[in-house]
Structures are given as C-alpha cells and as structure tokens.
Amino acid sequence: MSEVLKSLPVELIQLVVGLICLAALVGASAVLLVWMERKVAGHFQRRPGPFEVGPHGLLQTVADAAKLIGKQLATPRGADKILYWAAPFIAFLPVFVVMLPIPWGETLMALDVDLGLLLILAFSGMGVISLCLAGWGSNNKYGMLGAARAVSQSVAYEIPLLLSVLPIVFMTGSLSLSLVASVQGTWPWDWLVVRQPLAFFIYFVCAVAETNRAPFDLPEGESELTAGFHTEYSGMGFGLFFLAEYANMVVVSAVATTLFLGAWHGPGSDLLGGAVGVLWFMAKVVFLIFVMMWFRWTFPRVRFDQLLNIAWKWLIPLALINLLITAVLIPLWR
C-alpha cells in the first residue's frame, strides 16, 4: 500500500487535495453568497432581508438548499434526456478547473502553472455550451430563444474580456497568475489597476455580463416574464445552474483581484505565515462581489440590442485602443 502511495507523483496528490479544498470552498461560498445577496438586496431596499432562520437569517440558504433537493426531478416531455440533464453539470464542473490556478495566498494555490490565465479563459467558454444545451434540450421555444440570446451575449462579451486581460499579460510578460500577483506591491498605488484603469473597467463590465448578472441578466430576467434557458428546470437542476453562477462570480472576481487589485498583497500580508494575505484576497473578492450586487440593485436591465451594441461598439474598440497604447508604450519605455 505504501509503495503505491510513494509512487504517486506529488503533483497529483497536490491536485487532488486542492480539488477537495476547492469543492469545499465552492460549497461554502455558495451558501455565503446566497445569504449575502439576499441581505444586501434587503439593505439596499431599506428592509432587513432574511432574519428568522438562524441568527440574522444565516441558515436561510440551508433551508433553500433542502427545499431544492427535495423537489421532483421532472424531465419535460419530448426533451432530449441526455442533453437536458448534461447541461447543469456542464455548467457546474468547469468551475472546479477554473479555480485551480488562482493564487489565494502567497503560497496557497492548487496548481501553479505557467498558463493559468489561459486555462481560466478556456474553461470559462464551457459555460456557453451549457446554456446552449439547456435551451436546446428543453423542447421549449422560449427556452430556445432565451438560450440563443444568452449564448450570443456570452460570446460577444468574451472578446473584450480577453482584450482587457492582454495588456496585463504584455506588462508582466507572463500568463501565470502567481507571477502577476507577485509583481504587484503592498499598497494600492503599487497595484496594476493604477497602470491599467480602463482595462480594469472593461474587464469588470465583461465579467458582469459573462456571469449573467444585472444589468446584463437578460437570460435570467426573461424567466420572470416568459422564460429563459432554464425555464424547464426545477429543483436541483435549477440549483446547479445557480450554484455555477455564484461560483463563476467568485472566479471572475478572484481573477480581477489577482490581475488588477494586487491579489493577496495588503498591509501586513506577510504576517501569520501568509494567512493575512489570504484574508486580504478574500476581502477583495467579497468587495468586488458586493459591487456586482450594488450594480444589480442600481441599474435597469439593458435591452438585447443595447447589450450587443455596448460590446461591439464600445467595449471592443476601447479595449483595442488600450491594448494598442500598452503595446506601443512598453517597448518605448524599455
């Protein structure tokens, strides 16, 4: 037995342990974020939000999860069973892969790989196919239309997302997230956001659009009116889609923190063997998620044509100009 364990490469063990911890993190963050969303929504509307279940409503998410788990897993008549049930899983599983290269602390990451950023961007694209399959597999014309819109929204906003991340890659010369994190300093003026504010802004807007959050929540908002890609899902299927959405919010905020806001850097980040750095990282991620929730309760939903116009006419040109300026200035400085 011990021979087998000794022959296992260290990287594999590190990966497995990392995945287990990330699974726990995804679960914990979903519970926390659903509670935070409802409380924050309440406070923006000058009401308390959930209050009865557990102290200040902390156990509300547990009650919601228990309700979702207890529901009947109904498959609509005429739906393609394989695609219909594959869609929530395809939405949910890439989340674990995407969280692997993120540097949660100075030495705390599941997979320190040179192409971390590429890994994240590639696997984020899998969310698009899950939307497509959900709409197609539902055998529902509203679901189909909602899915078509969701797919075009995701695809359109992926381009400025990549273009706004590229200046950072040009400046640091690497796709490795841990390297980008280590290049930045302790104080806000040492972070990359001061050198690339436009890129940060474009990245954040694209992140909000990619995770289908308001004001870009046409795929979800429609479900309140007629439908959306997840109209036929109830119970745990729906739960998986929303778990995936919250996990995606965490991932996207974590990437923004790493690239622009100095990751685990902050005053006192080397204390306690790097634990304070991890706390700084978490604090920044929670702050960005709070800003996403702030956006949700401030802005009205954009219309579909306005949404695509923003992507094609504003974000892509601005991101390209930013990239051009960065690409021209760096060799000039050197």
């Binding site: 000058r46 209050f51 702030w294 956006f295 401030t298």
Partner: protein
C-alpha cells in the same frame, strides 16, 4: 460638432451611472423602514388597522352605542354579514295601563270608540347588533354609510380561535358593555 455632442452624451451618461450608484449606496446605510414585529411594536401605525366592525359608544352613556338602527349598514354590506334588530318598545307602565283600562271602560259605557292601547315609543337603538366576521371583507362600507358614525374597527391584532363558531357571530353590544365596564373599573382604579 456631432462628435463633441456624442462625447458629451457619453460622459453625462457615465456620470449618471455614478450618481445612481451613490443614491443606492446612501440607501444602503440608512436605517430600515421595517419594524421587526413581534420583538418591537413601536413605530407601527395602528390608526388604519381594520379588525372586525365594532360599535362606538355614546360619549355620555358608554354602555349604549350611537347606533340609531337605521339598517343602512345592513343593506349596504356587500357580504350581508351584519344583523341588526331594532329595540322593541318598552312595555307600558302600571299607571298607563290603569289609565287605559279606565278610559276603555269609560268609552264602552258611553258607547264611543275604544281608545288605542298605550304603546311605548320604540327607542332608536339596536336591540341586537351582530356581525358575522367569517364573511366580513373589511371593505369599510358599513362605517362609511353610517349616518351617526357609530361603526369603527376593532384594533385587536392577535385574534385567534379554534373554530368558525368563534367568529361567526360577534355580539358588538356585549363587547360595548364589556368595554364600558372595563373603562369604569379603570377609572375607579385611577
């Protein structure tokens, strides 16, 4: 010129987004409007609370309602849940009966028509005023049409019972007398 206008439009548009964020941000830190009900009860406005319909007492005689038994509330209630029976005339007193007997005897002796028997004047007040709360929709029509403003709403919030019988015949005259009795004892204590 067109380009400048366009740029100005974009800038004012972006600024409006920031202003919107500031408005919601301010709302986030302001105190809540919600009153955490059973833990706190101040700040709640009971003025407009509508419980079951209730009679208003006469200011001078708290055991009697202002009601004049005109039946307007009975006819206007859309659910037909109020039942009012006008008070009967009191029986004629002994002297009146004696005087009537004498007058009757006298009239018969003289061969004239017998006088009418004494009939008390029926007081303008209800003998029975019952509301069936299981059908009441708290629409307020009864209170609105009452010409003497004798109907109000109970402010009792925590009403509970075990069966329909607890609510299908609320005797408001009895409630009024109970209220008057409580008020009298409260005054005595004070």
């Amino acid at each position: 010129m067109n380009a400048i206008c366009k740029v100005k439009e974009v800038v004012t548009g972006m600024w409006s987004l920031v202003v919107g964020m500031r408005v919601t941000g301010q709302n986030f830190v302001r105190p809540q409007f919600t009153v955490h009900y059973p833990r706190k009860t101040e700040g709640l406005d009971w003025e407009g609370f509508r419980g079951h319909p209730m009679l208003v007492a006469k200011p001078k005689d708290p055991t009697k309602p202002k009601c004049i038994a005109c039946m307007l509330c009975v006819t206007s209630c859309p659910s037909g849940c109020i039942k009012v029976v006008k008070a009967k005339a009191p029986a004629p007193s002994e002297e009146e009966m004696k005087a009537y007997e004498e007058a009757k005897a006298k009239a018969e002796a003289e061969g004239q028509e017998a006088p009418k028997p004494p009939k008390g004047k029926a007081p303008k007040e209800p003998g029975k005023w019952v509301v069936n709360y299981t059908m009441c929709s708290q629409c307020g029509t009864c209170a609105e049409v009452c010409p003497v403003k004798s109907i109000t709403y109970s402010k009792q919030v925590n009403q509970a019972g075990y069966s329909r019988k607890d609510f299908d015949a609320i005797d408001c005259l009895a409630l009024l007398r109970e209220q008057a009795g409580q008020a009298a004892t409260a005054e005595k204590d004070a």
